[in-house]
Amino acid sequence: MSVAASSRFKTLLPGAFLVLVFFGAALISFFYTPFDVETLNIKNRMLTPNAVNWLGTDHFGRDILSMLMVGARTSIAVAFIAVGIGVLFGVPLGLLAASYRGRWADEFIMRGNDLVFAFPALLIAIMITAVFGPGAVNAIIAIGIFNVPVFARLTRGASLSLWNREFIMAARVAGKGSARISFEHILPNILNLLIVQSTIQFSLGILAEAGLSYVGLGAQPPTPSWGRMLADSQTLTTVAPHLALFPGMVIVLTVLGLNLLGDGLRDWLDPRLRRER
C-alpha cells in the first residue's frame, strides 16, 4: 500500500465519516428527532441510557439524543458561519496585502491584524455580550472576527511566496493586473491551504462555541447547545455523569473528525507531502 493510500485510511476516511455523521444528525433533526426537545417531562428526569431514551434524559426529562441532534445545528451553524466570515474578509485582505507587499496598504492591513490578534475570541465575545447581551449571534461574530486575521495572515504568507514565482511574472508580462493575477493565479494555488485551514478553524469554532455557551455567552435557552448541556450537567456530575459524558463525547468526536479530515485533506491535496512522511 502506498504512503498516500495508507494516510487516506488513517485520517481522511475516518475524519470524513465522523463529520458526515454529525452533519447528518443535524440535518435529520430538522425533520425528525426521537423526542421533542422542548417538552419537559420531570417524571422521567435523569434516566440513564435505556431502550427508549438511548442516551438517557436530562434534569428536565428531555431526551439527550434528541437534544444532541438539535444542538449539533447550533454548533455547526455557529462554527460554519464564523469560518465564512473569516474567509470572506480575511482572504481578500490577505490577497490585497500580498499584492501591495511592502507598501503602506500591506502594512496597514497587517497592523490591523495584530490589533485583532491582541483580543482573544473570548474577550471579543465578552465585549459584544456586554453591549448587546448574550446570544448565538454574538458567538458567531466573536469567533468570526477572531478568524479574520487567521485567514488574512495565512493568505498573505502563502501569496507572498507565489508572487515571486516565475509564472506570476509571466502573467505580468502578459499585461495582467494585480487583482486579476490574485484571482486567476494566486487564489487557485492557495485553495488547498485555505480548505485545510477552514477545517481547522471549523473545529476550533466548535470548541469555542461550546466554551462560550458553557459560560453563558453563547446560545441561550431554550435553544439546545452542546456547551449549555455541559453547563447544566456540571452540578449533577456526581449523580448523573452521563449528562456530562455524552455532550462532551460528541464535541470531542466532531472536533476529532474535523481535524482528521483536515490532516487527510492536506496529505491528499499536497503532492509534496504525499511523497514524504
Partner: protein
C-alpha cells in the same frame, strides 16, 4: 538589534493605544446607564445626577477617555461602580489567582510538550511516534472545561486528592495555593500541550530535511545528535510563535476554567461585572488582558532575535 527592538516596542505602543480606543468606544455605546442601574428604578433624578458626577460620568467622553488612560498609567483604574472600591485593588487580588494559573498551565504545557515532541520526531514512524500522535490528536479535540469536570469528578470527589474548587488564598502558604491550582492548570494545559507537541514535531521534521542537518550528519553526528545540536534551535521559531499565541489562549481559557473550579480570578470578576453593568471594571480587565497578550507578543519577538542571528541584523 536595538533598532529591531525599538520598532517592535513602537508597534506595541501603537497597538495598545488603538486597543484602548476600541475598548472604550465599544463599551461606551453600551445601553443602560450604570448610575441608574446601581440606584434602582425608584431613584430620583437628582440622586442619579449626583452619583453620575461622583463617578465622573457627567464629563465629556473625551475627558473620560483621557482620565481613564491617564489613570491606568499611574496604576489607577478608577472606582468600581458597584463596590465603590478602587478597581486596581480588585484586579490585583484577582490577578493573584489568574496569572499564576496561566503561567502554571503554560509551564506544564511546555514541560509536557518538549519531551513528547522530541521523542515523536526522533522516532518518526515508530511506535512512540504513533502513540504520541494519537494522544495529542485526542488532546487537541477535548474541550478543557469538560476535561476539568472529569478531573474534579475523579481527583476531587472520588479520590479526594484535591479540593473540588475554591481558592484558599496565598496566605495559607505557597504550596496550599499551588495545590488548589493543580487541577485547573492540568485541565488548561492538556490541549495546549497537545498542540505544542504537534507543532514541535512537525517543525523538527521540517528542519531535519534541511541541507545543514545533512551537513551535520556528514560531519559525523548521529541522527539524534544532529536533532539536538542542529535541528532543535532552528525548529524553535514556529514553536515560539505558538507559545506566544498559547499565552493568550490560556488567559482566555483561564476565564472559563475559573468557572469550573469556582476560582476567584479575573474571569469571575469580569462576568460579575458584566451582570452588574460595572463597566469600568470590564474595561480595565479587558485592557489588562490585552496588555498581557501584547507584551507576550513582544517577548516572543525578542526571543526570535535570540534564537536566530539573522533577525538581529540591521532593520
Amino acid at each position: 538589534m536595538l533598532l529591531y527592538l525599538l520598532k517592535r516596542l513602537f508597534s506595541l505602543i501603537v497597538t495598545l493605544f488603538v486597543a484602548s480606543l476600541v475598548v472604550f468606544v465599544v463599551l461606551e455605546v453600551v445601553p443602560g446607564d450604570p448610575a441608574s442601574y446601581m440606584l434602582g428604578i425608584n431613584a430620583s433624578a437628582d440622586t442619579v445626577a449626583a452619583l453620575k458626577s461622583e463617578l465622573g460620568l457627567d464629563q465629556s467622553r473625551f475627558a473620560r477617555y483621557i482620565q481613564w488612560v491617564g489613570g491606568m498609567f499611574q496604576g489607577d483604574f478608577g472606582t468600581s461602580y458597584t463596590y465603590r472600591t478602587p478597581v486596581a485593588e480588585m484586579v490585583r487580588e484577582r490577578l493573584n489567582v489568574s496569572l499564576p494559573l496561566t503561567l502554571f498551565a503554560l509551564t506544564l504545557a511546555i514541560v509536557l510538550a518538549f519531551p513528547a515532541g522530541l521523542l515523536a520526531a526522533s522516532r518518526r514512524g515508530g511506535a512512540a511516534d504513533s502513540v504520541v500522535m494519537a494522544i495529542t490528536q485526542l488532546g487537541v479535540a477535548i474541550p478543557n472545561f469538560w476535561f476539568a469536570m472529569w478531573l474534579v469528578l475523579l481527583f476531587a470527589i472520588k479520590w479526594q486528592w484535591f479540593s473540588a474548587g475554591g481558592f484558599p488564598g496565598w496566605g495559607e502558604g505557597f504550596f496550599v495555593g499551588m495545590k488548589a491550582l493543580v487541577l485547573p492548570a492540568v485541565a488548561l494545559a492538556l490541549p495546549q500541550a497537545s498542540i505544542l507537541t504537534r507543532v514541535l514535531r512537525s517543525s523538527l521534521l521540517d528542519v531535519l530535511n534541511e541541507d545543514y542537518v545533512r551537513t551535520a550528519r556528514a560531519k559525523g553526528l548521529t541522527r539524534r545528535q544532529a536533532l539536538w545540536r542542529h535541528a532543535l534551535r532552528n525548529a524553535m521559531i514556529p514553536v515560539l510563535t505558538i507559545i506566544g499565541l498559547q499565552f493568550s489562549f490560556l488567559l482566555a481559557g483561564a476565564i472559563i476554567i475559573e468557572n469550573v473550579f469556582f476560582l476567584p480570578g479575573l474571569g469571575r470578576l469580569i462576568f460579575q461585572s458584566i451582570a452588574q453593568r460595572d463597566l469600568i471594571v470590564v474595561e480595565s480587565v479587558i485592557m489588562l488582558l490585552v496588555f498581557a497578550v501584547v507584551v507576550v507578543t513582544f517577548l516572543v519577538d525578542i526571543a526570535y532575535a535570540w534564537v536566530d542571528p539573522r533577525m538581529r541584523r540591521g532593520f
